[in-house]
């Protein structure tokens, strides 16, 4: 018989390295037509980080995502970056990119200020224009300013910046200190069916609520959460590298290392919670790793809710769940006899 259960799990997760410096540098070049190029040493490994960085630079410059081209991952041409690790790209590289864009923008403001007859600090960007704060009708096209910066002022608008998360070393005795600049939080709830005659677990639905600060790109955040959950489902129920007695792997292929296929994935519902981190670029934190953290815990709690079995070692294969069910029945039978 199939038994339904639900389980909840929440988590917290930091952005960046533990105390250790993990800086990013960035260079933003505003082209003569008001579009921009970002140089970053980070690597696109699938998350969409280059698009996120383009959005951050675009936001800072008041232009559109498509106006920003990103050059990445070449040690000859791009500045130092700690890399695609530790859920740090949006926050750390994003801060560096925003600061670099801000510096380049400062050059444009210097050029635009006399034209608009105000001081540079009275200017802002909006919709590909540089305008006077409070007087949006007084504006100049950003492309015109950029071209003038080069051709008249002889000062091409290029900015470079670095960012390193603020941390405080941990006390070696007590571990007290500030290991990370910021953290994200999340809750996932799983609904499962457990076949009480075989131990087979079917994950029906996972609802996930994640904090990433400001979602720079909600679509890409959802993609991270959905993907992280699939990794979490595998971690919970299926995946394990196994060794023989001599220490050699016995399932080092995708036939026998069981990871979720499309048929094994539940319906996934993603919510992004309202959140803003003043230390992040436009309030953003990060989302890569945390997405797979609470899935297994939620599923295991749902299994417990369904059949009353607490599996304490992962993965909770059908065999383990069934062994738990059998043991529980034997225990109950004993109690009945004893009673």
């Amino acid at each position: 018989m199939k038994r339904r259960g639900r389980g909840i799990a929440c988590m917290w997760y930091p952005i960046g390295f533990t105390v250790a410096a993990n800086p990013s540098a960035a260079v933003v070049k505003i082209n003569e037509d008001g579009t921009a190029t970002l140089l970053t040493g980070t690597v696109e490994t699938g998350q969409g980080s280059l698009t996120i960085l383009a959005q951050i630079v675009a936001e800072e410059l008041g232009i559109a995502t498509d106006d920003v081209h990103v050059v990445s991952a070449d040690t000859d041409t791009t500045p130092m970056d700690t890399g695609a690790i530790a859920s740090r790209t949006t926050y750390v590289t994003g801060n560096a990119a925003r600061l670099a864009a801000e510096k380049a923008k400062g050059i444009l403001f210097e050029v635009a200020a006399p034209l608009l007859q105000v001081k540079a600090d009275q200017l802002e960007v909006c919709d590909r224009k540089i305008q006077v704060k409070g007087f949006p009708q007084r504006h100049i096209d950003i492309g015109d300013v950029a071209d003038r910066a080069r051709g008249v002022n002889g000062q091409p608008p290029i900015g470079s910046a670095t960012f390193n998360p603020a941390t405080v070393a941990l006390d070696p005795e007590t571990g007290q200190g500030k290991p990370f600049a910021t953290y994200v939080y999340a809750t996932q709830i799983a609904e499962v069916d457990v076949d009480d005659e075989t131990g087979e677990v079917e994950v029906l639905r996972i609802v996930a609520s994640h904090d990433c600060g400001t979602p720079i790109n909600p679509m890409l955040v959802e993609g991270q959460v959905e993907g992280g959950i699939s990794m979490g489902v595998g971690f919970a129920l299926e995946e394990e590298i196994l060794f023989d007695a001599s220490g050699r792997q016995v399932n080092s292929n995708l036939t026998n290392y069981i990871m979720p296929t499309s048929l094994d994935m539940p319906e996934v519902v993603v919510e992004i919670v309202d959140s803003y981190d003043p230390t992040g670029p436009f309030g953003a934190k990060g989302v890569g790793e945390p997405t797979c953290v609470s899935t297994a815990a939620a599923i295991l709690n749902a299994i417990h809710d369904a059949v009353g079995v607490r599996v304490t070692s992962l993965p909770a294969t059908a065999e383990k769940v069934y062994a738990g069910i059998k043991a529980k029945r034997a225990q109950e039978a004993k109690q009945i006899t004893a009673g």
């Binding site: 005659e197 075989t198 087979e200 299926e238 196994l242 016995v250 399932n251 036939t255 026998n256 069981i258 979720p260 296929t261 499309s262 048929l263 094994d264 294969t317 059908a318 065999e319 069934y322 062994a323 059998k326």
Partner: protein
């Protein structure tokens, strides 16, 4: 993959001739769908790799699905996808469709053939239990001509069949006596997509309507013995017995005794035994549901 020569057979006789020609001097493998063979050869050691591959994938005379005077004949090169889509098979043996559906994924089912699946003869062969439960026969062709044998005897052991090096599997025949026999196939794997069976079971029986009793019950178990086996004790117990839930439970219990599972990295023998009991009972229930549905259709 190591180098080998490929000879393409035009028809089944040509294939047998090619096998006869090369088997004496070379290590020869037959290529049908290739989904098992090529996967095996990719990382094969020198001692295991063939020198010659006889490609039978272009043979046209082994692709038909037809009812003949002897029963339902399925050519060895019929793919799993073709089985799933055959109206004839869908109608007569939904269990075969279900079994085919559990093999690999779309890509493998499009290439993989019924004959290839059977010849591979892994203990968990997903095409095996349903056909064994239906008392299927196989026809093979060799230099001396054709011979026929029950599929249950064609399977000899893990990755071993009764096929001689110069013989070719031609067709699978489900005898007239089994046509339309209510059958249910169930497979238990470690995931839903692209799963290998920890246990697979097929159950099949006719219903004596007057007595509502089991007639000619067959239960075939896969992945729990060196080859697909009949759960003979359970079959004997059910023969002529009134159909009742308790009888199905008992048959499941007895089937466990007919299984000789091993423990491996996928599952323990103990768990496989428990699964045999559950799946056997459920397969009997499933076959009975089918029998009742067929009855009400009439």
């Amino acid at each position: 993959m190591r180098a080998f020569d490929v000879f393409t057979a035009k028809d089944s006789r040509h294939a047998v001739a090619l096998l006869a020609e090369h088997a004496a001097t070379s290590k020869v493998k037959v290529l049908a769908g290739g989904t098992d063979l090529l996967a095996d050869l990719k990382f094969a050691s020198a001692s295991h790799a063939p020198d010659v591959v006889v490609d039978i994938s272009r043979i046209e005379d082994l692709r038909s699905i037809a009812v003949t005077g002897d029963g339902l004949s399925i050519g060895a090169l019929v793919t799993h996808t073709e089985i799933m889509r055959s109206p004839l098979i869908r109608d007569m043996f939904p269990a075969m469709v279900n079994a085919a559906h559990t093999i690999g994924a779309v890509q493998t089912r499009n290439l993989g053939t019924l004959g290839g699946n059977l010849v591979t003869a892994v203990p968990s062969v997903d095409s095996g239990p349903t056909l064994v439960a239906l008392d299927a026969l196989v026809t093979v062709l060799g230099p001396a001509g054709r011979r026929q044998m029950p599929l249950a005897e064609f399977f000899v052991g893990p990755r071993k069949t009764a096929l001689k090096p110069d013989e070719l599997l031609l067709e699978i025949l489900i005898p007239t006596t089994s046509l339309g026999k209510p059958t249910c196939f169930l497979k238990f794997g470690l995931r839903k997509g692209q799963a290998l069976a920890l246990v697979n079971v097929a159950a099949s029986f006719w219903v004596d309507r007057a007595r509502n009793a089991f007639v000619a019950p067959r239960i075939a178990l896969g992945a729990v013995a060196p080859k697909v086996v009949h759960a003979s004790t359970a079959e004997a117990y059910l023969e002529g017995r009134a159909i009742a839930p308790e009888a199905m439970v008992e048959a499941g219990r007895l089937a466990v005794g007919d299984a000789k599972p091993i423990s491996d990295f996928r599952a323990s023998a103990e768990y496989r035994r428990d699964l045999v009991a559950v799946l056997t009972r459920r397969a009997l229930e499933g076959a009975y549901e089918l029998a009742k549905a067929k009855q009400s259709e009439k």
